[in-house]
C-alpha cells in the first residue's frame, strides 16, 4: 500500500499562514525513500515549532541512522502553529511529515523526542491531527506505535496514557533494535497484534511500556507500588548507553533548513555525559558515564559536516565542552586548520576558569570577542556548595578579570533562583557579585565600555537527581526574590548601568515541575489543559498559567493530591517515586546521600579526574568513563582539499571594467 502526499491540500493553505517555508521541507541532506521500498516506517517528531525542532541533534541523528537501514525509513514532523492547525482542521489535512508530506498516521512508529516537558501538549495536537487516538489503550493495529524519547522520557509517567512506549538514554542503537523487532513482527504477519508487538519490545528490558505496569496508591496520595502486569516484563527498565562515540559519528550529513532556525550553525558533539556532579542538573546525572569522542573523529566530523552543509560556523557541543581531556589540542588544531577560510568555531562552555578563556581566545583569533558566558549558578558561596558547583567568588573574579583583560567586552552570568535551602540573602549576593565583576572588568580593560548580564531563572527539581526529593520554591516567593534582586541591581548607582538583568518568572517553572516529577494522575491535567487550548507551552506568548491551574484543579478534584503536592512538597527517603522503576543507573541510595551532603554543604569532586564515588552507573550498566588523552593531534590529517578549482576560467581575460 502506498501513501499519498498531502502536499496538494496543504499547499492551498500555505499562503494563509505565517512563515509557510517551515512546512515545505526541502532541507539540504534530507532523505526521501519510496514508501514501498522498506517495511518499517518511522515518523520522528520534535514537538516544538520547526525553527526550534529542525536543528535538534537527537532527531537528526536518529533520522540518519534509521534512513541508513536498508529496510526502514524515517521522516520528520514538527508542531504546526495554531494558524495552520485551524486551517488543517477545517480542511481535513492531517499531521504530515515535512520530507514527503506523508500523513503521520500511516507510519508504523511515531517517535517523539522530549527535551522538555513543555512539549507534551504539542504531542496531543499532533496525535489528534494525525487521527491517532490520544489514549494508547484506544489504539489498534492501524495506528503507529507512539514512542517517547529524550531526557523527559526518564520520567514519562505524566504522559503514560498517551504513549505506547518510552526509551531511556541514547537512541542510536535503540531505534535499530526496535526497528528489527517491528520488522520481524510485520514479516511474521503481525502475530498477536499490537499487544504482542509491545510485549516483544517490553521484554527486551530496554523499552518501557507503561500499560504493562500497574500503579497502586496509598490513601494519602503517595505511590504504594509499581509492578509489571504481564509475565516476562521486567520490574525495572534500563537506559541505553552508546559506548563508543567514534563508531557513531552522526549526524554525518546534517540537515540544513531553508527556513531560519534558532541554531544557525553546525554542531559536533564532542562527548556525552558529565561527571561534574552539579546536583540540580538532570542532564549531567542521566547521561553518565562520560564518553569522549576522539580528537581525530571530531576533526573529521567538522571537515565532513562543513563540506556537506556550507555552514560558516561550527559549535563543539557537550554538557561542558571545556572538560574534554584533549580540548586544547582540538581547539588549536581546528583553529589552525580553518584559519583564513572564514569559518567560525565556537565552544559553548560555561566553566568559570582561565582555561575556558584561553580556549575562547584560541577560537576567536581573528573574529569578534563579544561575549563570554559563565555559570556560577548559585549567588553565594554557601549556595554553590549546596549545588556542588565548586567555584569560589575569587575564582570568578579572577576569571572575569582575565576575560575583560583579553578584549572580551561582555560577560554573561547564569544563576538559578529557588535552590534548596536558599534565602533572599543568597540571591541578593548576586548583585554584589555583579558589581565586583564590573569593577574588576573596568580595571582590567581600562574602559567603562564593558557589560555584565545576569541571567536567572527558577530552579525546577528533576527526577534522577539528588534534588528529586526537594521542595520546589513556590512562584510567588521566586518572583519576589527576583524582584528584590532587580531592585538592588537598579539601585547600584556606580555599576548598575553596566549590569543587565534578565529573568524568567516562576509560573512556567511550576508547570514544568508538575510535569517533570508527575505521575500518571497528571495525564488528566495535560489532556484537560490541551482541550482547553494549551499549545506551545514553552513560548511565553502562548503559555497560560491560569489555564494549567484550572485544569489541575478539575483533574485533581476530590483526590488527595494537588499541584503543590507535586511541586512544593519535599519527599522523604521511603517514598516510592514515580520513576523508581526506570533505571538511569544511578543508585538511589547514592542520590539520597548526595542530597544529604548537599544539605550539609559538602561537595563531591569530578570522577573524571578523581576516584569513583560509586554513583552506581558504571557498575549497574556495565559501562565505564572513557576519556583521553589519545595523544593523537590533528597535524596528521590530510590538508583540506582545495575546492572550486574546477570552476576557474580557462584563461584570464584582462581588461574587464569592474
Amino acid at each position: 500500500m502506498s501513501v499519498e502526499s498531502v502536499f496538494p491540500q496543504l499547499e492551498a493553505l500555505l499562503p494563509l499562514v505565517t512563515k509557510p517555508v517551515q512546512y515545505v521541507g526541502g532541507e539540504l541532506n534530507a532523505v526521501s525513500k519510496p514508501w514501498d521500498s522498506v517495511s518499517v516506517h518511522w515518523a520522528l517528531m520534535y514537538p516544538d515549532a520547526y525553527e526550534v525542532g529542525v536543528p535538534n541533534q537527537g532527531v537528526q541523528i536518529l533520522y540518519e541512522v534509521i534512513n541508513e537501514h536498508p529496510d526502514a525509513l524515517a521522516e520528520r514532523t514538527y508542531a504546526v502553529w495554531p494558524d495552520l492547525e485551524a486551517l488543517m482542521r477545517a480542511n481535513d489535512v492531517p499531521q504530515f511529515t515535512v520530507d514527503c508530506h506523508r500523513p503521520v498516521g500511516a507510519f508504523d512508529l511515531f517517535g517523539l523526542s522530549f527535551s522538555t516537558e513543555l512539549g507534551y501538549t504539542n504531542m496531543l495536537t499532533a496525535l489528534d491531527l494525525a487521527g491517532i487516538p490520544l489514549h494508547a489503550r484506544d489504539r489498534d493495529e492501524s495506528h503507529p506505535v507512539v514512542v517517547a524519547g529524550g531526557h523527559a522520557a526518564f520520567n514519562p509517567e505524566a504522559i503514560a496514557d498517551f504513549v505506547d512506549a518510552a526509551v531511556l538514554g541514547d537512541g542510536e542503537q535503540a531505534v535499530l533494535a526496535i526497528t528489527e523487532i517491528v520488522r520481524a513482527w510485520k514479516a511474521e504477519g503481525r502475530p498477536g497484534g499490537r499487544e504482542e508487538l509491545l510485549l516483544r519490545l517490553a521484554r527486551t528490558g530496554g523499552v518501557y511500556v507503561p500499560s504493562f505496569y500497574d500503579v497502586d496508591y496509598l490513601p494519602d496520595g503517595r505511590i504504594q507500588r509499581v509492578a509489571p502486569n504481564r509475565p516476562g516484563v521486567p520490574w525495572r527498565v534500563s537506559k541505553h548507553t552508546v559506548m563508543d562515540l567514534d563508531e557513531w559519528p552522526y549526524p554525518k550529513a546534517p540537515l540544513v533548513p531553508l527556513a531560519e532556525s534558532v541554531h544557525e550553525r553546525m554542531s559536533v558533539e564532542i562527548f556525552r555525559g558529565c561527571t561534574r556532579g552539579c546536583r540540580f542538573c538532570q542532564a549531567g546525572m542521566i547521561t553518565r558515564p562520560v564518553r569522549e569522542r576522539s580528537a581525530r573523529t571530531i576533526a573529521e566530523m567538522v571537515d565532513n559536516g562543513l563540506a556537506k552543509t556550507g555552514y560558516e560556523e561550527v559549535g563543539l557541543l557537550s554538557l561542558s565542552s571545556a572538560d574534554h581531556s584533549e580540548i586544547a589540542v582540538i581547539a588549536k588544531g581546528l583553529a589552525d586548520r580553518y584559519e583564513g577560510t572564514e569559518t567560525g568555531l565556537s565552544l559553548p562552555s560555561t566553566r568559570v576558569d582561565a582555561f575556558n578563556i584561553e580556549l575562547a581566545n584560541e577560537l576567536t583569533r581573528n573574529g569578534r570577542r563579544s561575549g563570554l558566558t559563565f555559570a556560577p549558578e548559585g549567588g553565594s558561596e554557601r549556595m554553590r556548595k549546596v549545588i556542588n558547583k565548586m567555584v569560589t567568588e575569587e575564582d570568578l573574579i579572577r576569571t572575569v578579570a582575565t576575560a575583560y583583560g583579553n578584549g572580551w567586552r561582555s560577560v554573561k552570568l547564569y544563576f538559578m533562583c529557588g535552590l534548596p535551602t536558599e534565602t533572599d540573602d543568597d540571591v541578593l549576593q548576586i548583585a554584589e557579585l555583579a558589581s565586583r565583576v564590573i569593577e574588576t572588568g573596568r580595571q582590567a580593560s581600562g574602559t567603562k565600555d564593558i557589560r555584565c548580564t545576569v541571567s536567572i531563572g527558577g530552579f525546577v527539581p528533576k527526577p534522577h537527581t539528588p534534588f528529586q526529593w526537594a521542595a520546589q520554591l513556590d512562584h510567588e516567593t521566586t518572583d519576589a526574590r527576583l524582584r528584590k534582586l532587580r531592585d538592588v541591581i537598579r539601585a547600584d548607582r556606580k555599576y548598575g548601568k553596566s549590569i543587565g538583568f534578565r529573568y524568567h518568572d516562576g509560573k512556567p517553572g511550576i508547570v514544568e515541575g508538575l510535569l517533570s516529577r508527575g505521575d500518571r494522575r497528571v495525564g488528566a491535567v495535560i489532556e484537560q489543559v490541551w482541550r482547553g487550548g494549551a499549545r506551545f507551552d514553552g513560548w511565553s506568548e502562548h503559555f497560560s498559567y491560569d489555564r494549567w491551574m484550572a485544569a489541575a484543579q478539575n483533574a485533581f478534584e476530590g483526590g488527595p493530591v494537588d499541584v503543590d503536592w507535586y511541586t512544593t512538597r519535599e519527599r522523604d527517603y521511603t517514598e516510592v517515586l514515580p520513576w523508581d522503576h526506570l533505571d538511569s543507573g544511578l543508585d538511589k541510595d547514592w542520590l539520597w546521600e548526595d542530597w544529604q551532603d548537599s544539605l550539609a554543604e559538602v561537595g563531591v569532586e569530578d570522577c573524571r579526574w578523581t576516584p569513583c564515588f560509586d554513583c552506581g552507573v558504571c557498575e549497574q550498566m556495565g559501562t565505564e568513563i572513557q576519556v583521553g588523552p589519545t595523544g593523537v593531534t590533528l597535524l596528521g590529517m590530510p590538508p583540506l582539499p582545495p575546492r572550486g578549482d574546477d570552476l576557474l576560467a580557462a584563461a584570464p581575460s584582462p581588461g574587464t571594467a569592474l
Partner: protein
Amino acid sequence: MARQAPVRDVAPTVQRLRLRYAKRGRLRFTSTRDFQRALERALRRTGVPMAYSQGFNPHPRISYTNAAPTGTASEAEYVELALVKRLDPERLRDALDEALPEGLDVLEVVEVRTPDLAARLEASVWTVELPGVGCEEASSAAAAFLKCDRAEVSRLTKSGMRTFDAREPVVRLETREASPGADGTPCAILDLVVRHVTPSVRPDDVLAALRLVADLVPPIPARVTRLAQGPLVDGASDGDPRRAVSDPLAADRD
C-alpha cells in the same frame, strides 16, 4: 581596551558575475533571507572564491536586487557576486544550480560589463492565476481598475502601515482564461506589468485594489509568478506581455 577589528589581508575583487535565478514550486514560499542563506551556503559548498568584506564579521560580497515577495514564484531574480578569482560563468552556473535545492534554479550567469543593474530593472511582468474566478468577472474588475486615476491600498510594511496608489505604476493589466482545473473550476489569469516605484507596488496590492474597486474576492489564494524584470520597452502595449520589458543582462552580454 576594546579590540579594533583586524585589518585583514583580503584578496581584491577580480571579477563580478550576475546571476538570474528562478524560485519555483514549493520553494516559492522561501523569503529573500531564506534564499540568501541557501545561496551563501551553496557558494561555500562549491568552493566559489568569494570576495569578503572587511571588519569583525566579514561577509561574502553579494548584492541582492529587488527580490520577489515570499510566496511568489519567479523566473527572473537577480544577484551579483564579487570574486577573487576569475571563474567560467557557465561552469559556475552548473555547479551552483547543482548545489541549490530543486526549485531554486540558477538560469544564467554573465560577467558584469556594465554598472547599475538595479537601475535597469524598471518594471516587472507578473502572471497572476486566480483559481475559482471566472474570466468575465476578472475582466470587468480589471476594466474598473484601469478606469480609475488612483486606487489607494494599505499594506503593513517594515516601517508600519503605509497607504499608497496601486494604479499609477500599472502599465498593463489584461485578463485571459486558463484551462479549467480537473474538477472544472474556472481560473482567470491576469497579465500584469508594473513599474518599480517606492513603496513598491506588488501583485497583492493590485489584487487588494481589485477588491476595493470591483469586489473581486478570489476564493482561493492567487498563484503569482514573476516572469521577467527589465527596462520597459516603448510601445509594447500589446502582444506577449513578457516583451513589455527587455533583457536587463543584454548589455553585459555584448
